[in-house]
Amino acid sequence: MDFQIALMLTQDGIVNGAIYALMALALVLVFSVTRVIFIPQGEFVTYAALAMAALQTGKLPAVLWLLVALGALTLVVEAVRQARGQEVDWRSTLLWAVVLPAAAAVLMGVVKPQSMLLQALAVLLLVVPMGPLVYRLAYRPLADATVLILLIVSVALHLAMVGLGLYFFGAEGSRTAAFSEARWDVGGLMISGQSVVIVGATAVLVVAMFFFFERTIIGKALRATAINRVGARLMGIPTALSGDLSFALAALIGAVSGLLIAPVTTIYYDTGFLIGLKGFVAAIVGGLHSYPLALLGALLVGQLESFSSFWASAFKEVIVFTLIIPVLWWRSLHTHHVEDEE
């Protein structure tokens, strides 16, 4: 390997690492606020990427029907809860289950946007409401269950969503047009505009999340919930609100990641799962609760993957996934008192 190749691999690693960083942030966010280990995070990436690809070929993404179904089902569930005397927040329910899906449907089915930015907006409108809807249907009835049960729910949901992805998008992979076709030659290293877009968008999202959590009252409420769920509820922060919000943010991050990565990698119906899992490896570096360590872990995963694809390309997935073994081992050295599971 010469220096040139090393530089190229490093660049590759940074671009992929940026996507894993976004995944890891979403996973840490959802886990710390709701205790859900959100395995289906990667499916949002797939859905967004393949919906974008469908829009660009002038087709209506069939996954829209999934959103409509989720919305309708949520309305039914909320109506039943209301009838049983439980308090239902209809404003947020209508937002997630009716307004946003309707906007997505109008934009995709009637306006049929040609500009990439409008297409991207349509995809965000399609994917983001899925987060809170999935939360309400799958996780909220089990809000008091153990982390383990919630994890099994996640895996079940992942399986269902991958199967639905296969049904809606088919088995063929797709790529989308790049947001930027620019190319620069920096000292012999070709840097594509798209990779700058990816790293730039990631940086913007990370900074935006930082401000959201540090400066806004809703962000602080989420942080409070992450630190002490019961305490936050006693202080008037509804658990359901924090669930909606963290899942909406996770879906948003997933959708953005999908839009970013679709021009550089061919996405199949099951690609998102592997991307999400690599985000997990990164998040585990941070013990599923530290954002900075998760970011660091993502960079590490990106580099490891990129260099192992050069040296042992058949085993690159193995190498990346087995990274968690030394990480977990290192973490286990620092615990010697037993705590009961939540």
């Binding site: 280990i37 089990l142 982390v147 079940a156 049904y167 193995v318 010697h336 008192h337 009961d340 599971e341």
Partner: protein, 604 residues
């Protein structure tokens, strides 16, 4: 009719029908048996042990590939050339079990000392990795796999036909269920059942929970490997596909849908999922007009529904329906001859000897000082009380001297041994018995079962002995000892009642009985009198006095002043994390600072 008779009837019916069934049905039954063997390991892991694994398919793969490699590879043939061919599969079995045990142990060792969700996450990574490893190793045939695996033979008798091999499959499955049933109803089984919700408590009873978790994980992996070995010799070829992560998830579905807390739930779940998959793989592609593994959608949604609506799975539903026809087993059959085996006895130290010593124990949580240089000595044959207003730091101190947490500064010694940094099970080993402020019992288990866990360290029979019922004499002794302590604490009438159904005050007494079953040298009681009625308090005080006469050291944390003042020999008073008074009840009651702390006012 009892449940045992039902099981026997099921086996007899299966055996009687075996030669009459269609070949297709036989093959299906073989698969169900193979899957159930994996699922029953997951029941132990998930429903009983509170862990889970999505990577069991990879262990099945290890078992299958190990024997496939031994039976077909020229390298293996070179090494084993001196042996008859018929022995190869059995060597393959041993190799598969060895490799599986090694990998499962390593995986467990790095994840199982951490919180419960790291193991499943680790198994996802492991399940994915193994699929790629199998697929990329040319010695293992890559993604095409290995063909021409010979059928099993036993003493020259070929098991090529599924009708013959199926007998072995189901025999092994039933044997596994029998052994696991025995394990669950033993001393080690009580410890295993505590892994799910009572690890902190079990550690305080001297159970090494991390070690039990690792063993349980290895056990489940070994069952999966046996299934893989059988699978390889039934299919006669292997490739990586049946061992990928999705199948690993399906195994977990079988356990959860069937009923993750019940051994027979695994058989039920394996049957349901296998039949359902068979149907769906035909019906769904026709319905949806496309080809693909769409059954995962149904499985995913079914799983969600089961977890939300019937978290215990379908077996309890079925069992509830059957209960109309069968009698419940008596909760416990106290086996006669409890005296045949002697449990470990502890020599109690002479009265007046220092048992527990805290020296300048300080605990800081970030900026907050919860305990500030607290000194305390508890001696054999005396009752020492620790009192103080709410928030004085009593519970923090209690955790420090029982090994639940480490002091920031200062030292704790038990029986003259420095204990800082040691886990609570080592405190138990040295003779410390304790109760908890927030009662920690296994609510669904009987009082007898809960108390018997306290005697855990006094028996020695391990997993294998328990599975083979070689532990019965010792088990009888453990139960007899537990029963003795229960009667001594006045709970004889409720010994077979589920612990959670007792009133809170009685649950606290169950905790005392549990601590006594360990034959402690020192007893740490956290608010034992809370929730007791007047007469109950009197009998508790009488019991504690009697224990003091026997030479136990007793430390009581208590709010009930009357109870404390009439009982304790010495009292330590804590306020804002600092000792403000120390002495006999009379001295403490006269202390101006104590009066100020309890009644308010300045300390003029």
């Amino acid at each position: 009719m009892k449940q045992r008779h039902l099981v026997i009837a099921f086996i007899v019916a299966l055996a009687a029908a075996w030669s009459l069934l269609q070949p297709f049905t036989i093959t299906l039954l073989c698969y169900i048996g193979l899957y159930a063997l994996v699922a029953v390991g997951l029941v132990m892991l998930t429903g009983v042990g509170g862990m889970t694994s999505f990577g069991q398919a990879a262990f099945v793969g290890l078992g299958a590939y190990a024997t496939a490699w031994i039976c077909t590879s020229p390298t293996a043939a070179e090494w084993l050339g001196f042996l008859p061919k018929g022995v190869y599969p059995w060597i393959g079995l041993v190799l598969g079990l060895l490799v599986t045990a090694l990998i499962a142990w390593a995986l467990g060792a790095v994840t199982l000392r951490l919180s419960g969700h790291y193991l499943p996450l680790g198994t996802i990574a492991w399940g994915l990795s193994l699929y790629y490893i199998f697929g990329n190793l040319q010695t293992l045939g890559g993604f095409t796999g290995i063909t021409d695996i010979p059928p099993l033979t036993l003493f020259g008798f070929s098991m090529e036909s599924p009708r013959v091999l199926g007998v072995l499959i189901w025999a092994l499955l039933l044997l596994a269920i029998w052994a696991l049933h025995n394990l669950l109803h033993s001393r080690e089984g009580r410890a295993i059942r505590a892994l799910k919700s009572g690890r902190l408590m079990a550690e305080s009873m001297g159970v090494d929970t991390a070690r039990h978790r690792i063993k349980l994980f290895v056990l489940a992996a070994l069952l999966a490997a046996v299934s893989g070995w059988l699978y390889a010799h039934m299919q006669r070829f292997v490739n990586p596909t049946p061992f990928n992560l999705n199948i690993g998830i399906e195994y977990l579905f079988m356990a959860v849908v069937g009923g993750a807390g019940y051994l027979w739930g695994a058989v039920l779940g394996a049957t349901l999922i296998t039949l359902l998959k068979e149907e769906l793989q035909d019906a769904l592609p026709k319905l949806l007009g496309a080809s693909g593994n769409f059954e995962v959608i149904v499985f995913g949604l079914l799983m969600l529904l089961v977890l939300q609506r019937a978290a215990d799975g379908l077996w309890p539903v079925l069992a509830g329906w059957m209960r109309r026809f069968i009698q419940a087993e008596p909760a416990h059959k106290l086996v006669a001859g409890g005296g045949a085996v002697q449990l470990d006895q502890r020599q109690l130290p002479p009265a007046g000897q220092e048992i527990l010593k805290a020296d300048k124990v300080t605990k800081r949580f970030a900026g907050l000082v919860a305990n500030n240089e607290v000194d305390m000595t508890v001696k054999a044959g005396e009752i020492h009380a620790l009192i103080g207003p709410n928030g004085a730091g009593k519970s923090t101190f209690f955790n420090m001297i029982s090994g639940v947490d480490d002091p920031t500064d200062g030292s704790v010694s038990l029986m003259g041994k420095p204990m800082r940094g040691h886990p609570s099970r080592e405190f138990a080993a040295l003779g410390l018995g304790r109760t908890f402020q927030h009662v920690r019992l296994l609510g669904e288990r009987s009082v007898l079962d809960n108390v018997a866990l306290g005697a855990h360290r006094r028996g020695h029979r391990g997993w294998v002995a328990s599975m083979l019922r070689l532990d019965r004499a010792e088990e009888a002794a453990v139960l007899a000892e537990a029963m003795r302590q229960i009667e001594r604490c006045g709970l004889g009438a409720v010994a077979d009642t589920a612990a959670a159904s007792l009133p809170l005050g009685q649950q606290r007494i169950v905790e005392i009985a549990r601590a006594l079953a360990g034959q402690p040298a020192i007893l740490l009681l956290d608010e034992p009198a809370a929730g007791l009625r007047h007469l109950e308090k009197q009998s508790l005080a009488a019991l504690l006095r009697q224990l003091r006469e026997e030479g136990l050291a007793i430390l009581v944390v208590e709010h009930d002043m009357e109870f404390v003042m009439n009982l304790a020999d010495r009292i330590t008073v804590l306020e804002f994390g600092t000792v403000i008074a120390h002495g006999t009840p009379a001295e403490v009651q006269a202390d101006a600072r104590v009066i100020a702390a309890y009644l308010g006012g300045d300390m003029a």
